[in-house]
Symmetry: C2
Subunit: 204 residues, 2 copies
């Protein structure tokens, strides 16, 4: 694609480095910014730089945070006996938005993937095990890791690491038919698991 | 959506003001920037601010440009007898990328749309008429405006404004079946026009 302006070309190239943004979309975004008040562009640029420079990772759960310890970890109303293990910050946001979970989190920062060269030492596993030492307040670890091959491998790895913790309950998010989902459109594996792991009628 | 960090929330809000970017996409983009080198975020922000501050509009054709007069208008190899009227800068880029056009452009900056309150005076029509005064080098005006209702209205308005220019040829981009398109999937109006405006066999 040829551009009538080197300045636009640069902006398009930088925008097109974002995931899911092709050159055409990048051009549309650049032209949108040109059409609007320059203030809009300045606010966007400033918010990105400020975020990139100032955002921290919670030193306890590795969630993103504006402070050393995140708002969830430091909230006295959260249930410290329950720890939810997720691979990604997005999972924390998704679970928080359900308003169904009141425990703490631990963000692994990915899943074990030999193909992509991600081993256990690349994830926040050591700090998870530290949080689960015998004197820990945690009584239950809820594995909320996506049921992909890599996700299942990661959950299996963690479960094995934790098998000596006699008093620790290890649970997993339920697999089954999505709420509002129809049986006939559900894949066989999910449908199969929803039968094997059937729950008593009326259970929440 | 609740965010674990005010800094991320701000960035997501600014990103979500971009066209076609919802909150979920904005969050994905923000987390991508957080995962990568801060240098990437700085380059992106800088390129946007630089573009917004420094890009000019060509004072002749209203195309975007790094200089007072754009590279197309100032190129001595372009055919100054041929002027292509488009509504948007994106159309210039699209036509340039075909490598089939060697004339000049005039960017209207939109189309006449009474519903959206866009009248002729909101577009670069006066400067177009000035470029077509009797002593002008332009011999042909090629209307390359999208065949929507507003686009057709705009082309019709311009054609009427130019009807006294005796020696000016007014043409329009050809309507017809897209190259590689199949007859049976073409809408009736396009198919109809492609028959009415049929061309001699073998013509380029
Ligand atoms: Zn935390
Ligand atoms: Zn120009």
């Amino acid at each position: 694609m040829e551009f009538p302006s080197k300045l636009i070309e640069n902006a398009v190239e930088e925008l097109a480095k974002l995931p899911g943004v092709g050159k055409k979309t990048a051009l549309r975004l650049a032209l949108h910014l040109l059409k609007n008040e320059s203030e809009d562009t300045f606010l966007l640029a400033e918010s990105l730089v400020k975020m990139r420079t100032e955002v921290k990772h919670c030193k306890q759960c590795h969630n993103i945070s504006d402070t050393e310890v995140c708002g969830i970890c430091s909230n006295p109303l959260r249930d410290k006996s329950l720890l939810c293990v997720v691979s990604d910050i997005r999972d924390v946001i998704a679970i928080e938005n359900t308003s169904q979970y009141k425990g703490l989190y631990h963000v692994l920062g990915g899943v074990i993937s030999p193909l992509e060269g991600v081993g256990p030492s690349d994830l926040h596993i050591d700090s998870l095990l530290e949080r689960l030492l015998p004197n820990s307040e945690v009584k239950e670890v809820l594995m909320a890791i996506s049921p992909t091959m890599e996700g299942d491998t990661t959950a299996f790895y963690l479960t094995r690491k934790l098998r000596d913790h006699q008093n620790l309950k290890i649970t997993s998010i339920a697999r089954g038919i999505p709420v509002g989902g129809e049986l006939e459109y559900t894949d066989e594996i999910t449908l199969g698991r929803s039968i094997v792991e059937r729950t008593a009628y009326g259970r929440a």
